[in-house]
Symmetry: D2
Subunit: 400 residues, 4 copies
């Protein structure tokens, strides 16, 4: 089961790039944002690292289409995504960050030639950013029938009205395009009511209301926006795939999206485990190194077991997706989505505890990584929804 040589090579190159360029840039990026008058600004250093990554061939590794990206399948991408995920600034630098990857995927699969030229190309080049507008305030958005944003036919196009929030990346100054889910026909069958459209961020009637915070952090400079759409008019060709097919598009992109989050979170957890080991070795309290204190060793062991199991499960889901398609892999994807973010949250919580007050602060990557893990237990469907769906499958399979 050795990796194909080229993936091995990519792994090695990525690890080296992370070591030499990315980890060392984290503090500078953090300080740049912290000291900037305007928090919604991209440090030059990030653009510089992107250029370096691109010229090193470490670019769009997420993309399974050989024409647009690296052409790797999910199982091949998994260990690479884990490495990039070890830093919260990593995915952006390698053009593998959410939600741009999902949006690019959607444009590749369902976009017109014109969409590809106008939006996909600069996204693939890392020149612009994008957001995905699905979640709405005041309703349980994991149930797609709750969506309230309306997309109504008007003249030769559509008009949108609604309010979205948690549109990650929409605060980014480079964000140019939104993919918006709304209802074209509230009377249709449950999963045929929704459609997806492209909305340029500068279309009249689109207002970025405010950044949402995650445990008090605004996640600048990408952020999570609340956006209102008031009589926003778009041309008919901004509709993706067809009316009533929004749910279908959402399903298509969510499988890989969930697995990519899991891969990155395994990277976060693994890095925090290594930090725990280092700290255990050097930190002295009450006259002996922490490594000589049993409960810390159990924290380390449990974390290593947790991570390895999460990694194997995510890889199994990735393989199943490659072999039989996303739909047949649904249960394994669900299992990864249920367990890996919670696992990363748990491991990061232990790492924070071992680092003491420093672990809570901006001086390590732990607090931000923890917030990321915590968020993913809600994003793309809360744990409970996935557990429910999985159990129903299992009961059906074994009840007879």
């Amino acid at each position: 089961m050795a990796m194909a040589p080229s993936v091995e090579t990519l792994r090695h190159k990525l690890s080296l790039f992370m070591q030499e360029r990315v980890y060392t840039a984290e503090e500078a990026v953090r300080n740049f944002i912290a000291q900037s008058q305007d928090r919604w600004v991209i440090p030059d250093l990030v653009e510089k690292l992107k250029a370096e990554a691109r010229s090193a061939g470490l670019w769009n590794l997420w993309c399974p289409h050989p024409e647009y990206g690296a052409g790797l399948n999910n199982a091949q991408y998994a260990p690479l995504a884990e490495i990039m995920g070890r830093s919260l600034i990593g995915p952006e630098i390698f053009n593998c960050n959410a939600p741009d990857t999902g949006n690019m995927e959607t444009l590749i699969a369902f976009g017109s030639e014109d969409h590809k030229e106008t939006w996909l190309k600069p996204l693939l080049e890392g020149k612009i950013r994008s957001a995905f507008c699905m979640t709405e305030p005041d309703v349980a958005s994991s149930d797609a029938t709750n969506i309230r944003c309306s997309i109504t036919r008007h003249d030769n196009g559509y008009v949108l009205n609604g309010r979205k929030w948690w549109s990650t990346g929409a605060m980014d100054p480079r964000c140019r395009i939104l993919i918006v889910m709304g209802k074209t026909n509230p009377e249709a069958e449950r999963h045929r009511q929704q459609s997806m459209v492209l909305v340029p961020v500068d279309t009249p009637g689109v207002s970025i209301v405010r950044p949402l915070h995650v445990f008090g952090s605004d996640d600048a400079p990408h952020g999570h926006a609340e956006i209102t759409f008031e009589d926003v008019r778009i041309d008919a060709d901004m509709l993706l795939l067809g009316e009533g097919r929004g749910f279908e598009i959402a399903q298509a992109r969510l499988g890989p999206g969930r697995i990519h989050h899991c891969m990155r979170l395994i990277g976060c957890a693994q890095r925090s485990l290594e930090m725990m080991c280092k700290r255990a070795h050097v930190r002295v309290a009450f006259g002996k190194p922490l490594s000589e204190q049993g409960s810390l060793r159990e924290d380390i062991s449990r974390s290593a077991c947790d991570i390895e199991q999460g990694r194997l499960l995510t890889l199994a889901a990735a393989r199943k997706m490659d072999e039989t398609g996303n739909k047949a892999a649904r249960d394994l994807i669900g299992m990864a989505k249920i367990t890996v973010p919670a696992m990363a949250q748990r491991v990061l919580d232990r790492a924070i505890q071992i680092h003491g007050a420093k672990g809570l602060s901006q001086d390590t990557f732990l607090a931000d990584a923890w917030s990321y893990a915590r968020t993913i237990r809600i994003a793309d469907g809360p744990d409970q929804v996935h557990m429910d769906a999985l159990a129903r499958q299992l009961i059906k399979a074994h009840a007879d």
Copy 2:
């Protein structure tokens, strides 16, 4: 076991004040800070509410000394602290916020008449704020022998050199006085090396370096500061109690401080439980209210059980402190410190999950309350240190 009438009355008045004045002010305070150019500024509304609370007799309830405060003992104060703790802006409004309460306690017990006039009086009146400088970067500060900050005799006074962090409240624009723990004699017996001194925040050589973040939040406008002391000169009479008695002072203040945090965290947890119940009732997903979904009901039940047990344990510790003194109550205080913050973290995590993405955001008090609970698992000694101490006592008691 009915409360003395006056405590019942206070409870009732406090609950009403919270309902009518405090909860409704939370959003305005939050928005004021969010939109302010300078985050380290106190909203007028807060000062207004303080004045109202004071004139309503809801002031300095924490203070067991009838001369300076309400004269309540720990068991009487517990249910009141729980009510105030239900809002993160509550304790400040009632002049019961950490670390000012601990600092006032210290000044009452160990301050000179001059200290009382200059610092205690305005603190009791809520006119100035204070900070407590104990924790240092790069060492395990839960072990007091690790402290590096030096307090050296010089002429007729002392000179301080060192670096402190996590000095809560020191970013507050009203902060005037620091209580600083340092070493006067590194050669002395383990717990006689340390001393505590008063340092006005505007003394030359005192520099507020930066605010520390907690999960990305700066906790403005109070904040947690990193502070350097470079050749800071103070008069001899700024020494509290005597050289080598810093550890003793720290011990004296920590018991009540820990219990107060527990009481407030029970308030946070209780409020989040009530929010879960409300949400379960009104929120609909997949065609039925959340309250009809079993796992949510178990979350609610478990949380209620957790909270009630934490409340009873904290109250038992408070009673023991009242009856036999802080030292004899050490095991119960330790038990509360070990369990209550972790319990509040757990309950708040459930409440966040039930609230979905909104629960992560600034739109409820849940995320900030969670951060508070998480922080207290490290502040005033990490869980592990307290578990260790408790176990040693128990093994000693039962080993023979």
Copy 3:
């Protein structure tokens, strides 16, 4: 809150009796049963200890009726039940064992003079034992409407047909009387269908089918029986309270019964904690005592915190029952039932782990105590049913 002197005295006497007579008898009792040809036999030693306990005034302490027993309320009984619960042979020796206490309670409250003379008197004297036949195979017995056993009028009496299981104590050779729950009117309103009757164990048609095992143990010599009732005829005066009032009787006895189990389980957990402390002190592995190994110290601390919280919660429920009655105390009783058995299971599991293979075996009381705790998470309503009921109350209380 000091105990009334007489309770303090009872506590002291009980502890001494446990120390001098009960713990030391455990091994002999265990070996007697293990080596006996017939496992359903009572060792003479047990009868001897009962006589000693009775003459020492340590008898029927559970009974709140001064005419029949010690006249203590629930809060007074709690610490005594904890002490007796520290040994699995304890409750029998002090005539405080389930289900006899509940059965005696029922006879006191609802029995005729004749019932009292014939059954209550010898039960109070410890001369006979009894069983309570409620649970049935194949249906969810926590929902009383599921009961299938029929009690039909016939001539001047009733005839019973049905199958019961988990009738604790019915294997005991001294067992003489069964209290049986069945349906007199399946058409009545939900909670008026059931009645309770007294059935002497030697009534024709009553067959003890087999002993049920708990994790492979038959719990001899008391056991848990499966019993069939085939055309069992009883006189009309064997009916308790009235037709259709069986549910009402069940509710009346369950409150105290649940709390008594919790008290005893706290005793089990506390004893296991003390055993952990002792073992930590004397056991050496890899060159140092277990007490120097951090994770064990955390197990000890967590267990102590868990136990203390369970004790305080059970006591709070007991006080509430004393002050306001069982019905008003329902939520607190539910909280104790939900948390204490699970807590005892957890603490005993840790104690077993620390004792290694010995902890699994018959050489300590740990394995039996664990089985007891595990059983109580199902008996008298599984955890889930209690969590459900509690949550519904809370949602109702806070939803408006």
Copy 4:
């Protein structure tokens, strides 16, 4: 990654055999032992099934040596062991039960031709059983230097003195041979003090003292024995491998032994999951099937996730053993040993809870399977020892 056809075929045949012959025999076997006067007797049905399994080619599948067994490697054996592990009587029927497999492995690797003829051959044929005598009372046997049993040179042989317990299978009436670990040289280097010898169970001086119970069950008819060795004389050629090489032999057998336990426990957990699904579907409480009650669905989902992760981890360990040897696979074996038994215990506890009182009893396989899982958290090294060893490796690897 499809299995080689022959393994697929074995899987299919095994599943069928389990379905048609094994599950259906469980009750008969259980009742036979329960009703037998002598509990240490083998039901004819078991011997009959063994003969059937053997003639179906489902025999000695554990054995990687093509000369002696099926010649499968660990990764190939894993899914087969899982299937056999689904019944507690399975492994015996297929001649794959512990400790006989480990003992046969030891005889294959280190036995003389004479040993093989006398002991290995009948073991491979399922005609006799064996036991492994390592653990001793009163010392922490996970630390091999604690072993007290002495093996002293005497004339042309050795004489043994000592006490062993937890010798699984030694109560079995067919047990003929013991492999005993003792000390030949207490002065030697730490891991060279121990030797292993073969001792026929009928050698004078060998006394089976008593069966040890596991949570009250004697695990008849195989059992766990306490055995004394008093001046037991054996010939010199009964020594395995050489003096001082006992620890080395122990290490060699423990890797596969631990992994085999994990595989079987995954089978137990998987079967209990399927039982939960069935029960959720058919059982009605409070007017609706359990499957419509959310918390049960979460129990099912969590269990499925837990099991899949345990399976993947165990398989990863098996593969690593096959590819790089047991020593290099040490960390993965340790991870499986730490997590899988605890996982099975957790899943089985949930299944028991869902089955109510029936789940505690002899009427399902759940209680016995739970006891097996619980035992393995202590056998072959308690969790804590494995966590400790794993953490030390990790700290060493990452500390620099």
